[in-house]
Symmetry: C2
Subunit: 334 residues, 2 copies
C-alpha cells in the first residue's frame, strides 16, 4: 500500500466495502485491498472518492453519493453537461434507431451521453454518441474490469477513447441483478436529465427515471406505437409528467446549460441536415410504414441498381432501415 492521501482513499474503499450491504464476502479479509489495487492497475483504472476533483460534480451533490468510483478512461469538466439515455434490453428496431439518433444528435451538440452499457437501448446510446463524434460514459453494474454483455468487449475500447467506464462496485464484482438499481441511481445522479427511449411497464429504465425525478432532475420519454409493449413504460412516464421527446431539441430545450453550449457548436446542425439529390428524392417516398424495394423503385423511377446503392448509403447514414423481405422504413424525420 502507498502512504498518506492515497492510503486514506483506499481505506475509504475498504470501510465502505465492509460496512455496506454490498460488501462481497471475499473483500472482508486481509489482502483484499491489495488485490483490488492490483486489479485496478492491470486495467488502468483509477480510484475516485467524492472529495476528488475528478469525481462527477452533479453526482457529488446528491444525497448519499457513491463513496468511491472506479474509473477507466477519462472524465473531463465538459462531462458535467451529461444527459442519461436509458431503456429496455429487449428493444425494437425503432427503439434502437431512435436511441442511436438521439445520442448522435446530443453528442454532436456537446452533450456527454451517459448510459448503462446494457444490451439494447443502452448500447445504442453509447454507439450513437460515438457516431456523433461526442463523449459517452458507461456506468456499470459490475466492476470496471468485468465487461458485460460479452459482445460489448470491442465497444469498451471505443468508449475509453471518447469518455469513460465508471463503477461504484469493487474490481471483479460480477453483474448481479441487485446491483442495477444502485447503478441506475448513479446514472440519474450524474446527469442533468434522463431520457427513457423504450421501457416496458416494469423495468430498470423506469427506476432510473424515478431516481432522476426524486433528485429534481428532468425526466424525458420518447413515445412510440401504443401497441408496442416496450413503449408502455415511456407512455406511463409521460402520463405522470415526463416531457415527451421527439428529437434532441426537445431535450436541450429543458436544459439551458446545454442549450447555450449547443448554439456555439456547429456540429449540431451537421447531425440534423437531411440528404439531398437522389438520396433525398428516394427518402421522400419512404415513411415509417414498410415499403417494398420494388414499389420504391417504381415510384422513384430510379434504376434498380442505383436505388439499391442509395438505400445502402442511407442505411449507413442512419436514415433508413431494412426490414426482412426487402422492405424499407425511414428511421428519422427529414
Amino acid at each position: 500500500m502507498g502512504a498518506g492521501d492515497d492510503e486514506f482513499r483506499w481505506i475509504r474503499v475498504a470501510a465502505a466495502l465492509v460496512q455496506g450491504t454490498e460488501a462481497p464476502a471475499s473483500l472482508d479479509r486481509p489482502g483484499a485491498i491489495a488485490e483490488q489495487r492490483t486489479r485496478a492497475k492491470s486495467v488502468g483504472a483509477r480510484l475516485l472518492v467524492a472529495e476528488d476533483d475528478g469525481y462527477p460534480s452533479q453526482l457529488r451533490s446528491i444525497p448519499a453519493p457513491p463513496p468511491f468510483l472506479f474509473l477507466r478512461g477519462e472524465l473531463r469538466g465538459e462531462d458535467a453537461l451529461a444527459v442519461a439515455l436509458v431503456g429496455s434490453r429487449q428493444a425494437t428496431a425503432y427503439g434502437i434507431g431512435t436511441a442511436e439518433r438521439l445520442a448522435e444528435d446530443l453528442a454532436a451538440c456537446g452533450v456527454t451521453v451517459v448510459s448503462g452499457f446494457a444490451r439494447g437501448i443502452d448500447t445504442a446510446a453509447h454507439r450513437g454518441a460515438l457516431r456523433g463524434g461526442g463523449r459517452t460514459v458507461a456506468v456499470l453494474g459490475s466492476g470496471v474490469d468485468v465487461i458485460y454483455p460479452p459482445e460489448n468487449r470491442r465497444l469498451v475500447d471505443q468508449v475509453l477513447k471518447a469518455g469513460a467506464l465508471l463503477s461504484q462496485f469493487p474490481m471483479g464484482t460480477p453483474p448481479l441483478q441487485h446491483h442495477f438499481p444502485l447503478r441506475n441511481r448513479t446514472i440519474a445522479g450524474m446527469s442533468l436529465g434522463t431520457v427513457v427511449v423504450e421501457a416496458a411497464e416494469q423495468s430498470g429504465a423506469l427506476i432510473t427515471a424515478g431516481h432522476a425525478g426524486e433528485l429534481g432532475r428532468e425526466v424525458f420519454a420518447v413515445p412510440g406505437n401504443i401497441n408496442s409493449a416496450t413503449s408502455r413504460g415511456a407512455h406511463r412516464l409521460i402520463q405522470d409528467g415526463a416531457k415527451l421527446v421527439q428529437g434532441w431539441d426537445d431535450v436541450i430545450a429543458e436544459l439551458p446549460e446545454v442549450w447555450r453550449r449547443c448554439l456555439k457548436e456547429p456540429g449540431a446542425t451537421r447531425a440534423a441536415s437531411p440528404p439531398g439529390g437522389d438520396e433525398g428524392r428516394l427518402l421522400a417516398f419512404l415513411s415509417t410504414e414498410p415499403m417494398h424495394i420494388e414499389r420504391l423503385i417504381e415510384q422513384s423511377n430510379l434504376p434498380s441498381g442505383r436505388a439499391a446503392a442509395l438505400l445502402l448509403t442511407l442505411e449507413l447514414r442512419g436514415w433508413v432501415r431494412q426490414l426482412p423481405g426487402q422492405m424499407y422504413v425511414q428511421t428519422r424525420p427529414m
Copy 2:
C-alpha cells in the same frame, strides 16, 4: 310553408343564412327556403334549432352554438356521452388501426363516437364504432344531402342505422375548405372530450383539439413513432398538456360520466378480451415489428394452412394487420 312554430324555425334558418358570413348567395332569394324544405324532405332530414329538445345538450351550452342543425338519422339522450375521435386524412395503417380499435372499444362501452366523416382517421372512427355495436355521429362540412368523400356513400346507411349525420350548413352546401373549422368546433362542442389519433403539425384535427381546450373539454392524443410526420401534431398536443392515450381506458378515466356508465356495460370487457387457443399462441409471436408469415409458421410450429386461417380471423377481429410482402404486425396489445 307550414304555420306557427314550424314556420318560426325555418325563418330562423333563413335569417341565419342571410346574416351569416356563411350564407350561400343562392339562399338570399325568394323560394330558397322552400327548396331547402324540399331537399330536406327528400333525404328525410329534420331541422333542429337550439331550443329544440333534440338539439345536442353539450353543444347548446357553448358560446354561439350553431343556430340550427340538419339531422339525418336519430339523436338519443345517451348520445350526450359523446367523445370526438379525429385525425389526419393522410393516416397511416397504424393510425387507421388505432382509431378503429379505440372507437370500437369506446362504443362497446356506451360512448357515442363523434367524427367528421372525412377520409382516414374520421372514417376509421365511424367504422370502429359500428364494429363495436355502438353509436356514432358524423358531423359534415357540407349539407347532410351532400356526401363526401364519395367512397363513403355506403357508410352513410350504416351510420344512419346506428346514429346520425349532422350539419350546420344548409341542404345542398358543397364541402368547401372554409367550412371545416366551423364544423370542427361543432364536433368539439358536442363532445365531452376530443381524441386526436394522428395529425400533422398543421391540421384540422389540431383545430378541433384547440376548440375542445377553449371550451373546457378534455383533450387527448395518441402517440406514435416519432419519425412519423402524422404523429407530430399529436405529440405537440401532449407537450402542450393533452392527455396521452394508450387505450380506451385512458379516455374514460378522465370522463366520470362515461366511466360510471361503462362499469354497468358488459360490452366493455368483451372488446378488450384477448384471443385464446391457437389464435392466442400465434398472436404471442407477433409484435409491432413486421414478421414474415414463413418465420411465424416456423416459430409457432403450426401447419401453414392453419396459420393462414388463424391470421385471417385475427385480422378480421382487429388483432393483426397484413402488410405488403406477407408481413404481419400486431395492432393491439393483448
